[in-house]
C-alpha cells in the first residue's frame, strides 16, 4: 500500500510546488511591502518647484491619496507619465510626487515639458524619506487611505489597466470603509 501511496503523495506535492513556483504570472522579484496596513511614514520636505514651499503628507490626512516615487533619471517613469496625467485629470484622488535621487532643475524641466500630474512634488534631497517608505527604485506607487494607512504598493510603471484593476477598487473600498 505505502509503496504506491508515498510516491503518489510526493508527485502531488511536486505538482503543487511547481504550480506555485513556475506560475508565469508570479513576479519572483516582487517584494511585499511591510508597510501595508501600517501608518504612512510622515514627511515634510520642500516642493521641487518652490524650495520655499513645504510639502507634508500630513496635509492629505483624511483623504485617500497616491504617492508616486519618480526621478528624471528613471526611464520607466517617463513611460508612466501619460498614465499619471490621465489619472490626475480624472480627479479621482490627489497624487503626491516624491522626487527621488534627483536634481531640482532637471525635475522642473521634466514637469514643465511633460505636464505636472501632481498636487505637490516633495523633493527628497538625501533619500531619507525614501528609506522610510521602503523605496528601492522608481517608479513605485503607494496608495494611502483616509486614516493615513498604506493600503497598497505597486512597483512598476503605472498604466491605465493597472489603475483600473488594482487601484480603483481599493480606492472605492477605502472610501466605503473609511466614510
Amino acid at each position: 500500500m505505502w509503496k504506491f501511496l508515498l510516491p503518489f503523495a510526493a508527485f502531488v506535492a511536486l505538482v503543487v510546488l511547481f504550480a506555485f513556483g513556475l506560475n508565469p504570472n508570479r513576479d519572483i522579484h516582487a517584494l511585499p511591502s511591510p508597510l501595508i496596513g501600517k501608518p504612512a511614514p510622515a514627511f515634510t520636505l520642500t516642493d521641487v518647484l518652490d524650495p520655499a514651499r513645504p510639502v507634508s503628507n500630513a496635509a492629505f490626512l483624511g483623504q485617500v491619496y497616491v504617492l508616486n516615487v519618480w526621478g528624471t533619471w528613471c526611464y520607466e517613469c517617463r513611460a508612466e507619465h501619460d498614465a499619471l496625467l490621465a489619472i490626475s485629470r480624472s480627479h479621482e484622488v490627489p497624487i503626491i510626487g516624491l522626487d527621488y535621487m534627483d536634481q531640482r532643475e532637471k525635475a522642473k524641466q521634466w514637469l514643465e515639458q511633460l505636464g505636472n500630474p501632481y498636487q505637490a512634488v516633495a523633493f527628497d534631497t538625501d533619500g531619507r524619506t525614501a528609506i522610510d517608505w521602503g523605496v528601492y527604485g522608481a517608479p513605485e506607487t503607494f496608495l494611502v487611505d483616509g486614516q493615513g494607512r498604506v493600503i497598497y504598493k505597486f512597483i512598476s510603471p503605472m498604466t491605465p489597466e493597472v489603475w483600473q484593476r488594482e487601484f480603483l477598487p481599493r480606492i472605492a473600498a477605502a472610501r466605503r470603509g473609511g466614510a
Binding site: L31, G71, M101, D126, I131, Y136, G137
Partner: protein, 154 residues
C-alpha cells in the same frame, strides 16, 4: 530603469547641497565621526558596522549586501546604519529598522522564529529523512536471503 543613478554624480549633488546649506547659514546634519577613509573612528563601532552591512541585502541588486553594493541606495543605507551606530542604537534595533521598512528579505540570515522554522529546520529534516531511508534499505537488504552465487558448503 529601476537602477538609480551613479553614486558619483549624486555625491557631488550632496556635496553641493551641503555647501549651499553652509552658505545659507544652516547647520549641516551632524556627520558621524569618520576618518579620511570613511571608517568610523571607533573601532568597535566600525567592526559592528561591517558585520551589520554585510548581513543586509541591497534590494536593488538583491544578491549583494549593502556593504558590497555600489548603488546609491546601498550608500544611503550604509549612512543610515552608521548614524544609528553612532547614536548608540543596538544591532537588533538597526535590523528592526530595516525590516520595518524593507521586510524580512533585507536580512541574509532570517531570525529564528515560528515563521522561519521550516527554513532553519529543513536541513535537519532532510538529514532525518535520508537517514530513515538508508535505515530502511539496509534493513531490507539484511533480511534478503543470501541466495546469490553458489553456496559454499562446508
Amino acid at each position: 530603469m529601476r537602477r538609480p543613478p551613479s553614486r558619483i554624480a549624486s555625491s557631488l549633488g550632496v556635496l553641493l547641497l551641503a555647501l549651499a546649506r553652509l552658505a545659507a547659514g544652516e547647520g549641516v546634519a551632524a556627520a558621524p565621526p569618520v576618518d579620511e577613509n570613511g571608517q568610523l573612528q571607533d573601532h568597535a563601532l566600525q567592526s559592528r558596522f561591517e558585520r551589520i552591512t554585510g548581513e543586509l541585502r541591497c534590494l536593488v541588486c538583491q544578491n549583494e549586501s549593502i556593504a558590497d553594493s555600489n548603488v546609491e541606495l546601498a550608500g544611503d543605507l550604509r549612512r543610515q546604519v552608521r548614524e544609528m551606530l553612532v547614536a548608540g542604537k543596538s544591532d537588533d534595533a538597526i535590523f528592526q529598522f530595516m525590516t520595518d521598512r524593507y521586510g524580512e528579505f533585507v536580512r541574509f540570515r532570517p531570525p529564528l522564529e515560528p515563521k522561519t522554522l521550516l527554513i532553519w529546520g529543513a536541513p535537519f529534516l532532510m538529514l532525518l529523512l535520508g537517514g530513515f531511508i538508508v535505515f530502511r534499505v539496509v534493513r531490507q537488504r539484511s533480511r534478503m536471503p543470501l541466495d546469490d552465487g553458489p553456496a559454499i558448503g562446508p
